[in-house]
């Protein structure tokens, strides 16, 4: 098993660049492939090599399928990327699966509409005082020749670790098994936060012990710079050390959210915050709703133990943290089997369907196949709950999240999460409710509204809030490929070889 060459991996995989509090994402379309490739060859792309002191600026680049086409990448190479990447986020059937209907529909998006996708996203990060000069330097002279002039700039703001609704965000992240220490495949009996490298980086073993499909090229002059594929050494691995990047602009109706909570709490802001905490699954400051456990969990960062060393094992009915709470939906912190069956016989009994038989038992998929690495940033200004319930000033600018996540298999990771756990109105035995923050509340057949939120009690009637409004609206989105530095050079050189030989 080969060690990861950090110099070949884009930095975003390893770092969130937290200290670079200024960031902006440029969605570009290629005007001249020749100029774009020339720019790529000189672009100061940040790698995952740890530097001391840490750099003050960083830049990373990812491409959509139309983007690779615009650069002149051979169709047969593009065809070897995943279905999701090639089809794009805005495709009608996919949009339906992701809950992007109604107000969320791609036809209403500000960017990323079907057939109007950006070609690439160039992500700039820097410490505030360096930011504008860094962007100018990185763009250089050739930028305006390379890309169409109407670049969409997605600006971000620094909310000190909170998301716009006011809750602490980004507390839980999977720990990547960079050293590939984990034996795979194996059955996992307890929740662990360490996830196989291949879940986040193409070309390495994933949670199934397999290497996810990605383009493998015949060795020739053009592909000579690429690494060999680990499972097919005769081929060159275009995916290796790269991954897929999912981007979604999620506009948050912060006022709508707090007004709803405030109404439900009959004008008591403390109670409103409590209800909000139930919906999020964490309190404003980030504390979970179930107690921190004494037993340590593999892969929990020692600095976040107080907010992360917990599972829902002792809360099987959701009395502490509701099943439907955002953080429980998106990371149920479970394992391959319910109830930790230590003996082989017990496992067999469960596998054959004779294990736990209560209604809510064993309804949620094992989370280790559905983890994502979040790298998003907020936009818009901070709005405190007490301000949010006041009438808005005229022409208020929007708030939200430029959601970014990294995963090696969009279908099994991001899309599964979004479809089966967030948008699903039948998650974990619930009905008529989707994610309390992200749900679109759209009707489903036989059910005119899906705006419920259920808070189970301890042996009492569950408390149910209904009429949740849509608090988050999707305003744009796309699937990108975040290449390795070697693959980036391959793209930058693509087609030029052929031209030379003509």
């Amino acid at each position: 098993m080969s060690q990861v060459d950090y110099a070949d991996v884009q930095g975003l995989l390893r770092f969130g660049y937290g200290h670079m509090t200024s960031a902006s994402y440029a969605l570009v379309r290629v005007k001249s492939a020749t100029a774009a490739k020339a720019w790529l060859r000189s672009a100061p792309v940040t790698t995952a090599v740890a530097q001391k002191p840490p750099p003050k600026t960083a830049m990373n680049i990812a491409f959509t399928a139309p983007g690779l086409e615009a650069l002149g990448v051979t169709p047969s190479v593009i065809a070897a990327f995943s279905h999701e990447f090639r089809g794009g986020m805005a495709q009608q059937s996919r949009a339906r699966q992701l809950g992007d209907i109604g107000h969320n529909a791609p036809s209403n998006w500000k960017w990323g509409r079907h057939k109007d996708e950006p070609h690439a996203v160039v992500m700039f990060f820097a410490e505030p005082e360096q930011f504008s000069s860094f962007v100018e330097t990185a763009k250089g002279d050739i930028w305006s020749e390379a890309f169409e002039h109407d670049v969409t700039w997605l600006d971000t703001s620094n909310l000190d670790g909170d998301e716009p609704f006011g809750f602490a965000d980004g507390i839980s992240q999977p720990q990547i098994d960079w050293e590939q220490q984990l034996a795979r495949p194996c059955t996992q009996l307890g929740y662990t936060n360490i996830v196989a490298l291949g879940e986040f980086l193409l070309g390495y073993r994933n949670e199934y012990g397999k290497i996810t499909d990605r383009p493998l090229l015949e060795p020739d002059a053009a592909s000579a710079g690429l690494l060999d594929a680990e499972d097919t050494p005769a081929k060159k691995d275009l995916g290796r050390n790269g991954t897929y990047l999912v981007m979604r602009q999620l506009e948050q109706d912060v006022r709508g959210f707090w007004k709803f909570l405030y109404e439900q709490a009959v004008g008591n802001l403390t109670e409103a915050a409590k209800l909000g905490a139930k919906m999020v699954g964490r309190r404003l400051g980030g504390d979970p709703l179930v107690p921190i456990q004494a037993e340590s969990i593999p892969g929990i960062d020692p600095n976040t133990v107080k907010q992360n060393q917990f599972t829902y094992e002792a809360d099987p009915l959701g009395a502490g943290c509701p099943f439907g709470a955002h953080v429980r939906r998106t990371n149920p912190r479970n394992s391959d089997f319910p109830g930790r069956p230590f003996s082989a016989l017990r496992k067999l009994v469960i596998m054959l369907g004779f294990g736990p038989k209560a209604f809510y038992d064993d309804l949620t998929s094992s989370v280790r196949f559905h983890r994502i690495l979040r790298r998003g940033r907020e936009y818009g200004s901070e709005l405190l709950p007490e301000e949010a319930i006041e009438p808005p000033p005229p022409n208020e600018s929007p708030r939200g999240l430029h959601f970014i996540c990294l995963n090696a298999n969009i279908l099994r990771q991001f899309e599964f999460l979004q479809n089966a756990w967030i948008a699903n109105t039948k998650f974990s035995g619930l009905t008529r409710e989707s994610d309390p923050l992200l749900g679109n509340r759209a009707p489903i057949s036989g059910c005119p509204a899906t705006g419920n939120f259920t808070m189970p009690g301890k042996g009492t009637l569950p408390r149910r809030v209904s009429g949740l409004r849509q608090f988050v609206t999707v305003k744009g989105g796309a699937y990108f490929f975040l290449p390795s530095l070697r693959a980036l050079r391959y793209f930058a050189e693509t087609g030029t070889e052929a031209r030379k030989s003509k």
Partner: protein
């Protein structure tokens, strides 16, 4: 108890009339993947014993795969399949179906060989019967009528609770249970709710079921000396095949994949129809037969209601040989998206998946019949997607309800009808509301 049964008929399509047939079938839909339950041709919604039904043109694009064994692909006729799951006897249902929609069915089947307007429809349909080698029913005995009554019960309870939420919240579970029971009683006597009693189980079915329950193990017992003798040879042969059988798991065609997606996820439940050729040779055929007979036996006599192993998202499923023993189709009705269906299968019942599908040509390599195989999830998913065929018409009697919803509603109903429950049982029951 009213046992459920399935029907399926299979008829070769007259090639010249394929386009006409496709248009005809499409006219039953109001949009991609969404049938009009009151369509003129076959108003599915009028039959209150019908759970699921589908028309599908078995356009198997993978017949060329036999080339990996050096065989020449055969040209099969293009089949039309019509299948469904009903309460009670399938023939009785078909009788009613013909009576109401004989004309529409006649128009559809007239696009098939051997059918003319003078044909006796019922005789013709029975003649084209394609029996399942294995079938799964999520909850034997739960009728469409029961499902609808229990859904109405849930609805009524929800509304009642919502109106009285503040008064009910603090109540001890037992008191709440009693209050809700008396509410249901009054609704029933006012005629606003109906909870029909179970019909008696048909005697013939009971006898047949018992014979089946005893028969198969008995047969295995009698044959066991022979089986034990044959086992080592079988294992050697199987292991050899497992090591040498070629995999055929290319990436599914993007357009094919998109065509399938277009008709999926219009309801919380989806249809699934996958077809392929069996690996050549007696060992694979016997393995298939044995595994599917076991699956069928387990599904019929052993599984808990609502569960196939750990899976709780399948309503009905069946495996059927297509005209001979060379090709097979698997059809199911499952909840959620196809990706979560695959996820459930791979992670919870991978062993069963391998045992039943690995005898199909090109399946990802298994070991000892149940190991590996689908664990190569990407290959497996491409394999299955490539073998999946678009279903032209698909009907479900209870849109918006998943199998888990049905289980919740049944459990609520059972609780309503019970006069005494333990404290724990009462608490669990209240948690369902």
């Amino acid at each position: 108890m009213t046992p459920q049964s399935g029907f399926m008929m299979l008829a070769p399509i007259i090639r010249e009339r394929e386009t006409e047939l496709r248009q005809l079938l499409d006219s039953m839909n109001r949009g991609p993947g969404q049938v009009d339950p009151n369509n003129d041709l076959l108003p599915f919604g009028e039959f209150d014993a019908l759970h699921f039904a589908r028309f599908i043109i078995l356009d198997d694009k993978t017949t060329e795969d036999v080339r990996v064994y050096g065989l020449t692909p055969r040209t099969y006729p293009l089949y039309l399949a019509f299948l469904g799951d009903v309460d009670g006897d399938a023939n009785a249902f078909l009788g009613k179906l013909i009576k109401r929609a004989g004309k529409g069915l006649g128009r559809i089947f007239s696009c098939c060989h051997g059918f003319s307007s003078s044909s006796d429809l019922l005789a013709w349909m029975r003649q084209h019967d394609a029996p399942a080698i294995a079938a799964y029913v999520n909850w034997r005995g739960r009728t469409v009528r029961q499902i609808r009554e229990e859904a109405a019960l849930y609805e009524a309870l929800e509304n009642y609770i919502e109106k009285n939420a503040s008064a009910f919240r603090g109540l001890p579970p037992r008191e709440l249970h009693a209050k809700l029971q008396s509410f249901v009683d009054s609704e029933k006597s006012a005629g606003r709710l109906t909870l029909s009693r179970e019909s008696p189980t048909p005697l013939g079915w009971q006898i047949r079921n018992l014979l089946h329950m005893i028969g198969l193990p008995l047969l295995v017992l009698i044959a066991s000396p022979l089986l034990i003798l044959a086992a080592p040879f079988y294992i050697i042969a199987l292991r050899h095949l497992e090591k040498t059988d070629p995999e055929v798991c290319p990436t599914a065609d993007q357009k094919h994949s998109e065509d399938l997606s277009r008709i999926e996820d219009h309801d919380v439940t989806n249809q699934f129809s996958a077809m392929g050729s069996l690996k050549p040779g007696l060992v694979r055929l016997l393995t298939t037969m044995f595994v599917l007979k076991t699956v069928n036996y387990g599904a019929r006599h052993i599984t808990r209601p609502g569960r196939l192993g750990r899976i709780r998202s399948i309503h009905f499923a069946r495996w059927v040989f297509i005209a001979g023993r060379e090709r097979m189709i698997f059809c199911s009705n499952y909840d959620g998206s196809v990706e979560s269906y695959m996820d459930d299968f791979i992670n919870k019942t991978g062993f069963g998946l391998n045992a039943s599908f690995s005898n199909g040509i090109g399946y990802p390599r298994t070991n000892w019949l149940v190991l590996d195989g689908c664990i190569d999830e990407r290959k497996y998913k491409e394999y299955l997607r490539r073998h999946t065929m678009p279903t032209q018409v698909w009907y479900k009697a209870y849109p918006g309800l998943t199998a888990v919803d049905l289980e919740r509603n049944t459990r609520i109903r059972q609780g309503v009808e019970r006069s005494s429950m333990t404290d724990d049982e009462t608490r669990d029951w209240v948690a369902l509301l």
